[in-house]
């Protein structure tokens, strides 16, 4: 039975997609059967794995409007143990189209139930907002992995996100846990990163992953080659930190 993890934070540009793609790839490298669902109309997770909008006819939009199952739209990636449910621009319309649908918050949860036993981990990349798509991910998930960019404005947004998680836990998904906070774009050269990291560890203690992800240009170059960092430059600090994160996550999952 898969562990379903939503990668979410309404603050933009904090490393949600970079984390979903590279953590997914690192779990696959450890032969952990992983499904990555791209639930962002920007479809950045899809293009980071070399799947461009023109390549696909069936994507997660068809799942959200009930026309197709996940099994039907899921596709292989260059990594044996990583499967992708791609997104496309069609998804932009989903939030409006589904706004008045019956059980609109549980569409993804129902779709995942069919294939849950086929994977060990299911990761969901979400858009930078707290709309219906992100809500579907939070309802379908066992836990939320929160990328926290080591910047002041990113720290500010955490309170609103935690409030939203609380609300979802009270009304729609009582078991929703916080998988952890991941420090991203940690820049050893400046004090701001160290300050934000210190504040996060003070407030959230054990919830903060021991592995910080450093700012590393290889991580931002890899998407233009349609590859995760571990296939683009395995020796880069970025690739190594996500391999380490995968190990840390698997340990947390095994030990419960």
């Amino acid at each position: 039975m898969a562990r379903v993890i939503a990668v979410a934070n309404q603050k933009g540009g904090v490393g949600k997609t970079t984390t979903a793609v590279n953590l997914g790839a690192s779990l696959a490298a450890a032969e952990c059967r992983t499904l990555l669902i791209d639930l962002d109309p920007q479809a950045n997770a899809s293009s980071s794995l070399g799947v461009l909008p023109g390549d696909i006819s069936d994507d997660v939009y068809r799942v959200m409007v009930g026309e197709m199952t996940i099994a039907k739209v899921a596709r292989e990636t260059m990594l044996q143990y990583l499967t992708l449910v791609p997104a496309s621009g069609d998804l932009v319309g989903a939030e409006i189209e589904l706004a008045s649908a019956e059980g609109r918050e549980r569409i993804l949860e129902r779709a995942i139930a069919d294939i849950r036993d086929d994977y060990r981990v299911i990761l969901i990349d979400t858009p930078p907002s707290l709309g219906l798509l992100t809500l579907n991910a939070l309802v379908a998930a066992d836990s939320v992995l929160i990328p926290l960019q080591c910047e002041y404005l990113a720290l500010e947004g955490l309170a609103a996100l935690m409030k939203t998680i609380d609300r979802v836990r009270q009304s729609l998904n009582p078991d929703l846990a916080v998988e952890g906070l991941l420090l991203t774009m940690y820049d050893l050269r400046n004090n701001l990163s160290a300050q934000v990291a210190r504040e996060a560890r003070e407030h959230f203690a054990e919830l903060v992953f021991k592995t910080p992800v450093p700012r590393n240009v290889r991580l931002s170059e890899a998407p233009s080659h349609g590859k995760p960092a571990l296939l683009y430059d395995i020796n880069s600090k970025g690739a190594l930190s996500y391999l380490q994160l995968a190990e840390e996550l698997l340990e947390r999952i095994e030990n419960g």
Copy 2:
């Protein structure tokens, strides 16, 4: 009669708020009467100017639901020629509350019409999505200033944004122009920035502002002090680049 400029890009974390705040402050330093409207529920532009959620009772949410005028919620900042319409978390609910309101795309346009003659420039900071709040900004605006982070994934999102601008121009705001593309977080140390800059200038030529904004830690430190960069560290590369951008923008506006 003010020029109304929406600062927009659905890609997250590209420098929308940093641009709205620091360009606004730089225009004010040039004694150009400027209004900054924070239309993002994250309220980052408000906190970057030292206005925290607890400080305000009336914010742009009250304008969007028709309870108050802009004149009533606008407040002074530490800069004489810069006035702020703050945001608060209440704005999160606005997109859902207004979804079925009559003339929901023109609420901000109507509110701005009352005070348009009091300012020379009106800047609108928008959230990282193409929902009703951003749509209101695009309908109310004369032009769109597009911050373009010098990263591959940010370049990818441009086509979707340009399509949205076209659609708004055809249906709701025929005169909507592109004010320009602003290269942000330009990092001289890596090739990716240079490559993205070259591609942007090839595709968009004159539309790209001559002034690039370099990656500069002072820009990301300033918000934690509640000040724009020019009051936090006037000699920093970040502050100087936004002063230069303000000059370039004023020249464009004067010369039509």
